[in-house]
């Protein structure tokens, strides 16, 4: 069996005395698309943010292709240099619920920023690459606009293009459609589905259970401070084995028919 692209080993995190999760192990193989589901406050975002060290895990490690890029020392500090963290983050792209575009830069500037500042690419080349990424998400004509002029769905697609520009090996999505008008959810899910069809590796925190079912290769249900149930979408979403998963799905499907 080949080396996992991403391995979480014994990952744990608390905020003060509030234990969010502990002992989380997860292997992500190339091409895996993992949907993380769970109740509000169950720690989905925190888990995702530990993977690229936006949150500092208390214990455990994050390995990419067998190289441990993130190691906690058990005291809330990282045994990683800033260089390791920047290297890790270039290989792991992230898309946020609130988009977090840079408002003082044009759309193309947002997408090119990482290439120019982090990769040292010339701004002409970077803008060319940005244009290509914008076309991929259907916004080839918006490069010169400022983010404030875009709809929520367009903003989120720019954020996806910004992450893609860095050629990440894994994409993390934290509820990418939760801040959107229902009418705009489709265009963003469409782009994510297209990335899935290209065989990209991704981890997606979402409340869109139908989308998770269609797109994910594996579903992880988070509860009781860790991974509570995991399996194929068929197993976890159609035939959940454990009570909290069953309860969660029942609550979410109550108003769906």
């Amino acid at each position: 069996m080949s080396e996992p692209l991403l391995r979480l080993g014994g990952l744990g995190k608390s905020f003060g005395t509030n234990l969010v999760f502990s002992g989380v192990d997860l292997d992500v193989m190339p091409g895996d698309r993992i949907a993380i589901l769970g109740a509000s406050g169950s720690g989905k975002s925190t888990l995702l943010r530990c993977i690229n060290a936006l949150e500092t895990p208390d214990e455990g490690l994050v390995k990419i292709n067998g190289t441990p890029l993130l190691k906690a020392d058990g005291k809330g500090r990282l045994r990683s240099t800033e260089r390791d963290l920047c290297a890790l983050r270039q290989r792991v792209g992230m898309v946020f619920q609130q988009f977090n575009l840079f408002p003082h830069m044009t759309v193309a500037g947002n997408v090119a920023e990482g290439l120019v500042t982090v990769r040292g690419m010339s701004s002409g080349k970077a803008l060319e690459r940005a244009q290509a990424e914008l076309e991929r998400v259907g916004l080839g004509d918006k490069g010169d606009a400022y983010p404030s002029r875009l709809s929520g769905g367009q903003k989120q697609r720019v954020a996806i293009a910004r992450a893609l520009a860095m050629d990440p090996e894994i994409l993390l999505f934290d509820e990418p459609t939760s801040a959107l008008d229902p009418a705009l959810v489709g265009e963003v899910l469409g782009v994510i589905e297209q990335l899935a069809n290209e065989g990209r590796t991704m981890i997606l925190v979402t409340h869109e259970i139908g989308f998770a079912y269609h797109v994910a290769t594996r579903v992880v249900f988070v509860a009781e401070h860790g991974i509570y149930e995991t399996g194929t979408p068929e197993e976890v979403l159609k035939h959940p084995a454990r009570p909290l998963t069953q309860q969660f799905l029942a609550d979410h499907q109550r108003f769906q028919f």
């Binding site: 977090n100 840079f102 982090v118 910004r162 860095m166």
Partner: protein, 221 residues
């Protein structure tokens, strides 16, 4: 009672005022650049994760905010040479007093501006692999500075006016030259009126320009 204004006695000495104005502008530019730059570093020091640096920056801010600039200038001019074997010119003493005081105020303005930037901006920049310094330079400061331009403009105006305090150590600037003209011609009313007018004429257009810059920068919001 009618007072017979006699501005001719002031304008006859226009060259003395011109020399004073040059001195004022020189002091202003040096203090502006030095004060605003040092202020930024002090603000960053207050956000450092090194405790001694935070402590030092906080001490700096509180010390220079809570002591009068006039006293500082006098202290640097008369007291410092007693403690340290250095000769301090009136220009140096004025620069130190005004810049350090301005840096302390500017530091608080920068700090407020940096704090006002949403954590999501830091996170988005870090998430594409930017270092803390890159994030600050490319993402946070450009946005923060837009927000604090009005406050920084006030500081700049304040620095310009504080330059008159340098006359206390006989540094040649407008106020000092005015005092001289007034004492020779016995016309303080006219002299100080003209000096106030010169400040107004110089500062008002500068303030208008910064308003325009502010509006231009706000375009993207």
């Amino acid at each position: 009672m009618t007072y017979h204004w006699n501005f001719a006695s002031v304008f006859d000495n226009w060259w003395a005022l011109a020399i004073g104005l040059a001195g004022t502008l020189k002091l202003f530019v040096v203090c502006l650049v030095f004060g605003m730059t040092l202020g930024l570093f002090v603000a960053l020091g207050r956000r450092s994760h090194r405790r001694w640096l935070r402590w030092l920056s906080t001490f700096f801010v509180e010390f220079f905010r809570n002591t009068p600039v006039l006293v500082q200038i006098l202290w640097f001019y008369y007291a410092l040479p007693i403690l340290a074997p250095i000769e301090i010119s009136p220009f140096m003493a004025a620069i130190l007093g005004i810049s350090l005081n301005s840096a302390a105020y500017a530091a608080e303005i920068y700090r407020g501006g940096i704090q006002s930037i949403e954590p999501g901006q830091w996170e988005a920049a870090r998430a594409i692999g930017m270092t803390g310094a890159q994030t600050l330079r490319r993402i946070v400061l450009p946005q923060a500075i837009r927000r604090i331009i009005p406050a920084l403009t006030n500081r700049g105006v304040e620095i310009f006016k504080m330059s008159t305090l340098a006359s206390v150590v006989a540094y040649v600037e407008l106020m000092q030259q005015g005092k001289l003209i007034a004492s020779l011609n016995f016309n303080p009313l006219e002299v100080y009126t003209v000096i106030a007018a010169i400040f107004l004429i110089i500062l008002y257009p500068i303030v208008r320009v910064t308003y325009a810059v502010e509006r231009r920068l706000a375009r993207s919001d």
